[in-house]
Symmetry: C2
Subunit: 413 residues, 2 copies
C-alpha cells in the first residue's frame, strides 16, 4: 500500500511533473478552417505569405503628395498643387504624381506612384478647378502606411503552441490563410470512484451522494480545450477500477481519477494508478489545502492524475495541476499569466505554516475598496465554490492574514 | 449627414446606452441538459429541491460516538466504547449508538442515529474484540457534516442571469437538477462594409484588403456566448447597406456594423443605423483612442452598434462595448469583474488629455518585475493586437505615463 512519500510544495510538485512529461505522447494535428480556430492551438509555425499591408496606403482622407512640394506651406501661404485625379477605393491606380501634382485618396486607399505622403482633407482647400491649396507641410510618410509595415513576407508570425484569440484569427484572415493545422483536442478520460456515488439523474438514497466530479471536471477540461470522456462511476473495487482505468489509459491523452473518500478507497486508487505503467507515480501528496492526497503519475507516456474525491478539492486541484498539464499537452508554455484583483480581507484568517492554503472568497465593493470575504463552512461541499468569486492563495510560510491586509484574488471563472 | 454630436467619455457612453437598453427585446429561453450548461446563462431562479448533504455524514474515517462519552479521554486514560458495527458506504444504516457505544464509519458515510461526532481513526485503538479505545475527546459535531449544512431545501441557490461555471454545474448535479432553462444564445448579426474589402479566401488585388472584422468580431461574440451570423461584406452603397442592415435587424438580437474607412463611408453607415428604428442613435462619438467614431443605437428594441472599420479599433471597442451589451442581453449584471496584472512600463508613454487611450502592450518578466512594453507601430493593423498580451488604459486626465510607473494590464484573451 503506497504511503505519502513526502508532501511536496505545489509549485515543486508541478515542476517535477512537467519535467517528467517530456516523455508523454502528444495528440496529432488536424486541419480546420481558420474561422473555427478560436481557442485552438497551432500545431506548426506559420510564416506570412505576403506583406501586410499588401500595398502602400493612406491612413486618412486627403491628398497624396510629394512631401517636398508642401514644405513651408501654411494657410496664409499655401502650396498650390495640380489635382490630377482620384484613387478609387478597392482599386489599383495608375496615376503617377509628378512635381506639384496631387490626387484625392480615401482612408485605406492606395498611394499613387510618385507620392510619399498624404495631407489631410481638413488641411487643404479646393482653390479652383483641378487645383488644391495645401495649408500644412507634410513630412515623408505622413499619413501613409508602407507596404509590409505591419508584417513582411516570410515573417514568422505564429509559432506552434499559439492559442488563437480573436486577433490571431484576424491576422490569419488578413493574410488569406483560411485553413490551419491545430492540435487535435486532447481526449481526457474522467473516472469518478466511490461506492456511495450515484449518477445525478438518480434518486440518491440514504448514505448516497450524486456524482459531481465527472461534471465539474468535464467542464474544466472543456475550458482547457479538451474533449472530456466519462468512464462512469466506479465502485471502490480494485478489479472494476483497474479495468476502467486501463481502458481510459488506452484511449486517452490524459486520465483523471477522483478517489473515493475513505482511506481504503484512496489506497485502491493509488494502487491502480501505480500499476498502469512506468515510470508510474511521480508525486503522491502535496502540501496544500484542499488537496493533500493528489497523485501525479506518468504511465507509459500517458499522464494520469489522481484527485481527492471531495468536489471542492478536486476542482481546486484540477485548476492548479490539470490546467497546466493541458497547456503542456497542447505544446503551449505550461505557465499561463494569471491576472488577479487586489482586495482587502475583511476578517482575520488563520492558516497553518508548511502548507499552501487556497481559500474561496466572495468579493464585495465598499466604495472604492474591494473586500474579500472568506467562505467558511466546514462542509467543503460544492456550494462553497458556487458562492465564491475567487480564491486567495495563502503561502506556506504564512500563519494567517490579518483583517485589512491586501490580498490577490484569482477569479474562479 | 450626422456630425459627432459630442464626444462622451467611454464609461458615460456605456452607462447611457445600458440605461436605454431597458427597452431592448431579450432572447427567450431554451431547456438544455445541465451537463451542457458551461458558460450558459440561467433564464430563471432555481431553488434547492432537497438539502445538501442529504444526510448527516462523516468527514473522516473514524468512529461515530456520542461526544459526551469521550469527554476527558486521552492516550493515557482512554474512554472505552463498545463497537456495535460498521456503516457501509453508500448505504443507510439502522445502527443506533447508545451510551458508551460506537460504530466504524468511513469518510462520507452516514452517521448512525444517536451519534453526534466522529473520532478520527488515528486517535483510536482497537483494545480488544468489539472494544475501541478513544484517545481524544470529541466535541458535538466534530468531523460531522449536518444534513443541509451546505444547502437547505428551498434555498434560493441560483438566480436568473447566473453564468454557469464548472462549480455551478456541479451544484446542479449534486441536487439532481439535470435539466435547466437557459437564455437562448443571442444571435448577433455582423456586417462588414467597405468597397476595398474582399473575403479572406480571395486574392486581394491592388488597393483591396481582406475582411478581418467579420472574423475577429465573430470570435468575440462566440466568447460572449452569442451566435455570430455574418451578413457578408457590403460595399459603400446606401441601398445595399440599408437592405443588409434591415435584414440583420429583423433577424438578430444585436447588430454590429463596421464602417468603411473613408469619411463618406462612415457617414453612410451612420445614416443607415439612424434610419433603422427609434429611438435611433444614442451615442455617436466617444472620447477614446482607438475608436472615436463609435455609434451606439437602439432601433425598435434591437441594439445596433457601429464600429470603426480599422480592425484594431473595432476589436478594442467591441471588448469595451459589445461585451457589456452581451452581458446585458443575457440578463447578467453588465459590469464584469476585470482582473489584471500589475506591471511597470519600460518607456515613457505620451497621451493626450481629454481622451482615454487603450495601449496594446507586451509583457516581459525581468526577475521579479513584470515589464509592459507598448506596441507601437503607426499601422494600427491587426498584428498590433496579435503581438500584444494586454491593454493598458490611460485615463482621460493623464498626459502620459513615465517610464518605471506602475500600470494595470488587462489581458487580451
Amino acid at each position: 500500500m503506497p504511503e505519502f512519500l513526502k508532501l511536496l510544495p505545489p509549485d515543486e510538485a508541478l515542476q517535477l511533473y512537467l519535467d517528467a512529461l517530456g516523455a508523454a505522447h502528444r495528440p496529432d494535428s488536424e486541419r480546420i478552417p481558420s474561422e473555427a480556430g478560436l481557442d485552438r492551438v497551432l500545431a506548426a509555425d506559420i510564416t506570412a505569405p505576403h506583406p501586410l499591408p499588401p500595398f502602400t496606403r493612406s491612413t486618412v482622407d486627403g491628398y497624396a503628395v510629394r512631401a517636398a512640394d508642401t514644405y513651408g506651406a501654411s494657410a496664409s501661404l499655401p502650396a498650390y498643387l495640380k489635382l490630377i485625379g482620384e484613387v478609387q477605393m478597392g482599386q489599383a491606380t495608375d496615376l503617377v504624381i509628378g512635381q506639384h501634382q496631387t490626387a484625392l485618396v480615401h482612408t485605406g486607399g492606395m498611394i499613387p506612384a510618385g507620392a510619399n505622403a498624404v495631407v489631410m482633407l481638413e488641411d487643404t482647400e479646393i482653390a479652383r478647378a483641378n487645383e488644391v491649396e495645401i495649408h500644412k507641410p507634410a513630412a515623408v510618410q505622413d499619413n501613409v502606411l508602407l507596404e509590409g509595415e505591419d508584417v513582411q513576407a516570410g515573417d514568422a508570425i505564429f509559432s506552434a503552441g499559439t492559442s488563437l484569440r480573436p486577433q490571431e484569427i484576424g491576422g490569419l484572415m488578413g493574410l488569406g490563410i483560411t485553413e490551419i493545422d491545430v492540435i487535435r483536442r486532447p481526449r481526457v478520460g474522467i473516472l469518478s470512484t466511490g461506492d456511495e456515488v450515484v449518477p445525478p439523474g438518480e434518486q440518491a438514497g440514504p448514505g448516497q451522494v450524486r456524482d459531481i466530479n465527472t461534471y465539474t471536471l468535464s467542464a474544466l477540461v472543456t475550458r482547457a480545450g479538451g474533449e472530456a470522456q466519462s468512464y462512469g462511476i466506479i465502485p471502490d473495487d480494485s478489479g472494476q477500477l483497474r479495468k476502467a482505468a486501463q481502458q481510459a489509459h488506452a484511449e486517452c491523452d490524459l486520465v483523471i481519477i477522483t478517489a473515493g473518500s475513505s482511506v481504503s478507497a484512496r489506497d485502491i486508487t493509488a494502487d491502480i494508478i501505480a500499476e498502469l505503467g512506468s515510470p508510474g507515480v511521480l508525486v503522491h501528496g502535496v502540501a496544500i489545502r484542499p488537496g493533500k492526497p493528489t497523485i501525479l503519475a506518468l504511465a507509459d507516456h500517458v499522464p494520469v492524475i489522481g484527485l481527492p474525491g471531495n468536489p471542492v478539492s478536486a476542482l481546486v486541484i484540477a485548476g492548479l495541476f490539470v490546467m497546466p498539464v493541458m497547456r503542456y499537452i497542447h505544446g503551449m508554455p505550461p505557465h499561463a499569466l494569471h491576472p488577479y484583483l487586489d482586495a482587502e480581507v475583511n476578517v482575520n484568517i488563520a492558516s497553518i505554516t508548511g502548507r499552501e492554503d487556497y481559500l474561496p472568497v466572495r468579493l464585495h465593493r465598499d466604495g472604492k475598496r474591494l473586500l474579500a470575504e472568506p467562505i467558511y463552512g466546514r462542509s467543503n461541499l460544492i456550494f462553497t465554490l458556487v458562492r465564491a468569486d475567487g480564491l486567495v492563495r495563502i503561502p506556506a510560510e504564512a500563519t494567517g492574514i490579518a483583517a485589512g491586509s491586501p490580498v490577490r484574488v484569482h477569479l474562479l471563472t
